[in-house]
């Protein structure tokens, strides 16, 4: 009997260690594949990467702090949603890059759909005190009051439409030319 108990205990410990290693491995994998280096491996993402590096959110600020691609482009409401969306994006974007033709997309037009690719809970994950402290700062409080009071149902990027990628229009034009510019 004692042998069986010990065996169960050892199995649990080993299982725990194996599980932890796997979990850390996946976490590390998510971490490595969440930044600008990985995302711009696909050449079609070069303009987005370059515009991001010019932007405050891409490290072009006094302290060099930067948000990773997934900080904005993945949901941050809970870990299950995060992992689910990460997997969906991985499969869809991977397939399209390998078998589709993303060079032919109208990337300028896609900028108008930014709210589909940027999650408010991502913004608020970092700008966490915006709601709390904004009444001290009238200039920040007034524009965000209706948002937090839910008087409007706009997302962050509907007002901050150029956030994250400075002058993306120029970078897109340099890579894809005028053909993709609709307006």
């Amino acid at each position: 009997m004692r042998k069986t108990k010990l065996f169960t205990f050892i199995i649990l410990v080993i299982g725990g260690i194996v599980g932890l290693v796997f979990a850390l491995g996946i976490a590390q994998f998510f971490y490595v594949t969440g930044g600008e280096k990985f995302c711009t491996m696909c050449h079609v993402m070069e303009p987005m990467g370059n515009a991001y590096k010019d932007d405050v959110h891409g490290g072009n600020n006094k302290v060099g702090f930067k948000a990773e691609c997934v900080s904005c482009h993945l949901p941050h409401d809970n870990i299950a949603h995060y992992v689910y969306q990460k997997s969906v994006n991985g499969i869809v974007e991977g397939t399209l890059t390998l078998f589709g033709n993303p060079e032919k997309y109208d990337w300028q037009a896609r900028r108008k759909e930014a709210k589909r690719y940027v999650y408010d809970d991502g913004c608020l994950h970092c700008h966490t005190d915006l709601k709390k402290i904004s009444s001290d700062n009238m200039k920040s409080f007034l524009p965000h009051r209706d948002y937090f009071a839910k008087n409007i149902n706009k997302t962050c990027v509907e007002c901050h439409e150029h956030v994250g990628h400075k002058n993306l229009g120029f970078h897109l034009k340099a890579k894809f030319g005028d053909l993709n510019i609709t307006k």
Binding site: M138, K139, L142, N167, L168
Partner: protein
């Protein structure tokens, strides 16, 4: 004694002169340091010299109190479709736009912009350019173009002058699709600058907040006064300010409004007894009793009274602004846009406004008379339209409607006399409902019958 009076008068004149000069000087040395970024301060200080009028307006605005600076509305990313290509100020890395679209205003006033976009006002500019008849009138007939076929009396026109009528007239109230040159400035001679309420901007947004809240004070008090609406809603085709002045409401406002009424209560709280009679904004927009403030001026309207035929507003929300934002298309919009809950709900809301001063009986009775006049107009228009369609089928109309007696009278029947008759009735202006309205409509219909009968009898268009 005379010497003393002359001396006193001289002093008085000198003082008043010094006062006005003093104001300008005060603006020129303006220094600000109040939660503004260094660049924003620079804008204010430099423009206090270059364009003192603009800075003067701004400094007496609520925006200035809240620390909203030039940059907050005019600075744009370099790759914005609205950006002026040159850096401003020089070598600052900053780009500005001379245009400020509702999208910019909507960053802080999102609810107001959304409501505006759902109203008929948002259609004002784009619908005009989506209508073939209007485009022909502006650019061809009024632009004095070459004749269509042989029956128009025009001499050959000058292509360079064809924009003049629309740029100085139509667009000033309606607005236009603003196009920029390579440097990022609006193209001169095409209708900019203007205060048009339906401007369509290169960033995809439609409308113009400054039509009513003129720049750069953006004053709520100004927008609440009838004069805010009157700069467009006047004249033979929609004499709304004249109608207001003819009404008892206008009489009371003109007698005491400026002196006695309280104009600056907060939105939703501006209600009786801040005033003793409503202004345009009170009935069509303000938060009265249980109603909330709205920037959708179509929301409390039962009928569409500007169209040739009066139809109930069953179209829900206006969509022209949405279509322009998504597809960049200029459309006629939804002429029957009104209250999404239907025309009776719209009328119900308007009655709530009336009832904050009038009894239920008085309110109901007023609208019964008004609706009867609207429906009476429709009987005239139905007959006129039937004659028009009949002549068209028999090819007895000139191609140039502006040199055709029948079509000219038909136009006046609905666009001038008919609108005065109907709008006069629903806004309580007896002179417009009757003498400028139904009296002239009945004269028109008789003239139309005469022309119609003559053409049918002879089978020809009279010379």
């Amino acid at each position: 004694m005379l010497k003393k009076i002359v001396l006193a008068l001289t002093c008085l004149v000198a003082f008043s002169f010094a006062e006005s000069v003093g104001n300008v000087n005060l603006t020129k040395v303006m220094k600000v340091d109040r939660s503004l970024s260094p660049l924003a301060k620079k804008c204010v200080e430099c423009h206090a010299e270059k364009t003192p009028g603009i800075v003067n307006d701004w400094k007496s605005s609520r925006h200035a109190h809240a620390g909203v600076s030039c940059m907050d509305c005019h600075a744009v990313p370099a790759d914005s479709p609205m950006a002026i290509k040159k850096e401003h100020p020089k070598d600052s890395g900053n780009h500005v736009s001379i245009l400020v679209s509702p999208k910019t205003c909507g960053k802080c006033h999102a609810k107001e912009v959304k409501e505006f976009e759902q109203s008929g006002h948002a259609r004002g500019g784009v619908q005009m350019f989506a209508k073939k008849g209007m485009v022909e009138l502006m650019y061809h007939y009024e632009g004095n173009g070459k004749p269509y076929e042989n029956d128009a009396p025009f001499h050959a026109g000058d292509e360079n002058l064809k924009d003049a009528p629309s740029a100085t007239g139509c667009i000033q109230c309606h607005g236009l699709e603003i196009k920029l040159d390579k440097e990022g400035y609006p193209i001169p001679g095409k209708g900019w600058p203007n205060y048009g309420i339906g401007n369509a901007y290169p960033d995809g947004s439609v409308g113009s907040c400054k039509s009513c809240h003129s720049s750069h004070t953006f004053d709520m008090v100004e927008a609440r006064k009838p004069s805010a609406c009157a700069s467009c809603h006047l004249g033979p085709d929609h004499p709304n300010i004249e109608i207001y002045n003819n009404s008892m409401h206008g009489k009371i406002y003109n007698a005491e409004g400026e002196k006695k009424w309280k104009w600056d209560s907060a939105p939703d709280t501006w209600d009786v007894p801040d005033y003793r009679a409503p202004t345009c904004a009170t009935c069509h927009m303000s938060g009265i009793g249980d109603l909330n403030t709205t920037h959708n001026v179509s929301l409390r309207l039962k009928w569409n009274l500007w169209a040739p035929h009066s139809n109930l507003r069953t179209g829900g929300y206006e969509t022209a602004a949405d279509v322009y934002a998504k597809e960049g298309k200029v459309t006629v919009g939804v002429p029957l846009a009104g209250n999404p809950a239907g025309p009776e709900a719209a009328r119900g809301e308007m009655k709530q406004v009336c009832k904050s001063c009038h009894s239920t009986k008085a309110t109901e009775s007023f609208f019964i008379s008004a609706d009867q006049h609207v429906m009476l107009y429709n009987t005239y228009h139905t007959e006129a339209k039937k004659m028009l369609d009949d002549l068209k089928a028999k090819k007895l109309l000139k191609k140039d409607e502006w040199s055709d007696a029948f079509q000219k009278v038909y136009y006046h029947l609905w666009h001038h006399e008919g609108r005065r008759m109907r709008m006069g009735a629903v806004m309580g202006a007896p002179d417009y409902a009757h003498w400028h309205g139904v009296f002239e409509v009945q004269q028109d219909i008789k003239e139309l019958r005469n022309i119609y009968n003559a053409r049918i009898k002879s089978g020809k268009i009279e010379e």
